[in-house]
Symmetry: C2
Subunit: 378 residues, 2 copies
């Protein structure tokens, strides 16, 4: 959405290059919506989605927890005043240095998905609480997380005797069904499988095992119109169905859903070409593309929505949307052209909606000499 705050900012500050305005009010609302719907789970904001210091400070002020992926993200949280005790080091790929640093500053929870990573945690964070990430990845996610992460649930169960001999405290398991998981119907089977593991952990003496159900809560792109609150309520219902008779300590890790619709990007048409595709769509080149903010549109993965200043009644025309660099992969929408006002011209303003997640952090340091997406969060 184009928030009131973003419109006011854009109108009062001169444009020089593409910029993202993120509404902190909306970030807080989204976090509260999720935490309130999933009231039995502790809600860790996935910093990777948007690590702007003001976002971290605002969420910290309301007592949020944070999921971090690296030493760099831990340092960003600490710099924003977040107590280390409210961090979870959820990455399964951690350098020894990063583990040692996290342990030293007081991060209480670590995740592994193989014996070697468990051994590293035991060595560099001796005695620390740990979760094993299991592979329940969903194929339905827009940005799936398969193969790279997670051990097979039965492998974990086989490895339990070995893990008990390591100097760490196995507290439970985590999983992640994949980012932008629009089909809430994927949750029940995953939770049923998680329950099987959790139940087994209870027989091994872990009283109320921790279960981190990850993120995946969808943002309102063109492909999803279901609404965040409703989605979270359905997940809460699925959790209740699965665990009403099984003591479990729940946590979740939303990132995208907290920040996406809080952000709107202002950009410009760099060139409206008279060249057309064989389907008759004009090429529309923006001053923003895959390399300075819209990496998730690569291969037409995330279907961002666009708006312009043209009157809403203007006739529409299909456009192939492309970024500004001399790189042919820097094309945003070609297979599925986007309908935009036919009268658009070079220099016209374009808004990219629901763009607060995975935009600034994915921007390159300056490919083709274009500066990374600027962010204002207020």
């Amino acid at each position: 959405m184009i928030t009131t705050e973003s419109r006011e900012y854009f109108e009062s500050h001169q444009y020089t290059s593409p910029r993202l305005f993120t509404s902190l009010r909306r970030v807080e609302e989204n976090y509260r919506t999720i935490a309130s719907a999933l009231k039995h789970a502790t809600c860790f904001y996935a910093v990777k989605a948007n690590p702007h210091p003001e976002i971290l400070k605002r969420l910290n002020a309301i007592g949020a927890y944070f999921d971090v992926a690296s030493r760099g993200e831990i340092e960003q949280c600490l710099a924003a005043g977040v107590p280390a005790t409210r961090l979870s080091f959820g990455s399964t790929i951690k350098t020894p240095d990063a583990i040692a640093f996290a342990y030293q500053v007081g991060v209480p929870l670590f995740v592994f998905d193989c014996l070697e990573e468990a051994r590293k945690i035991a060595e560099y964070a001796p005695g620390a609480a740990a979760l094993c990430r299991i592979d329940l990845a969903s194929q339905a996610a827009k940005w799936p997380l398969t193969a790279k992460f997670g051990c097979a649930p039965d492998d974990l169960l086989e490895q339990l005797p070995y893990l008990r001999r390591l100097n760490l405290t196995l507290e439970g398991v985590s999983f992640h069904l994949g980012s932008q998981l629009e089909d809430v119907g994927e949750w029940p089977w995953a939770l049923a499988e998680a329950k099987r593991i959790v139940t087994r952990l209870r027989t091994e003496g872990i009283e109320a095992p921790r279960l981190n159900v990850g993120g995946g809560f969808p943002a309102p792109y063109a492909s999803f119109t279901g609404g965040l609150e409703r989605y979270c309520q359905l997940v809460a219902g699925a959790l209740e169905d699965a665990f009403h008779d099984t003591p479990v300590t729940l946590m979740c890790e939303p990132g995208r859903a907290v920040v996406a619709d809080a952000g709107v990007i202002e950009a410009r048409v760099a060139l409206k070409s008279d060249r057309r595709t064989h389907n008759g769509a004009h090429w529309l080149y923006l001053d923003i593309g895959v390399f300075n903010g819209l990496f998730e549109a690569y291969s037409e993965g995330i279907q961002f929505r666009f708006a312009s200043d043209r009157p809403s009644g203007d006739p529409l025309s299909p456009f192939v949307i492309s970024g500004p660099t001399c790189d042919s992969v820097d094309v945003l929408f070609e297979k599925k052209p986007v309908d935009l006002p036919a009268g658009l011209e070079t220099g016209d303003r374009i808004f990219i909606l629901d763009a607060g997640a995975y935009t600034t952090s994915y921007a390159t340091i300056g490919f083709n000499g274009f500066p990374p997406l600027e962010q204002i969060a207020a």
Copy 2:
């Protein structure tokens, strides 16, 4: 290759995060190799491949020309002392501001591929020399440049009467067969088509039309072992065959081939997992991946070669190679696992060879909290 200079640097400077060492000696040698083989063409270094200030300064010192993609790259060249008269603004997607800036500082040559961009050049750089980029893209390139760029040759010929009425000086055409074009056999047909256009331009009163044959000269990745000098000699031969009887002003735009084998990256194994793929390959997670330097390995596009400090006789084992972020697209080689010493361990040093092109500039500002690839050029 692991240059002498890079090995000395790595041995004498403590490691903190992945770093690229680029040998300026080798950059100069490569530029001279190309310029000498293609002696009838003016050789413009494509800044986008690696815009490090020391590289620009070294090439400037030997009188090189430069192809730029944006106002940002023009500013980088000027800051390195390059005279604006040795720049070509080769991007076909330029904001009006960028054209006006280039014109004001004295950039003499601009490129368009549609009437609207030609009109912009005429308006913001009145009277400037311009080339029309035509679409002769090769499907054989590793990183093809199709569809997004270039007008059909016959469309250009039809538009000539209109272009003559604009306030610009049409001097000729440019084309680009695509980056890392390993099959030199693609050149003759492209040059034959270019000759057809050039010949027609001569009948329109352009005495010795400019022909920018682009870049695409391949770097020595796993997929190409032909050698740069030999490749350039074959291209020179094809140029001679095509244009020996047609006056033409030749230019070329190598980027990758100038810097790739001058650079070597030092990285570390973050985790050697005991998990295996169904083919039996272990997952090997490095502290560098798609988002902090190796974007071109995405979807296994560019096949970087790896080396380690293990003795050369050590037994090898297939590894799936992955980056360190919590993102499943951050996987470098999965379909084609890479044979590396079986004894590799967490913390071991890894070299990534021929990594001087399209690595630093593609790095994100800090996705997942990992710093962008550091570069030392000396």
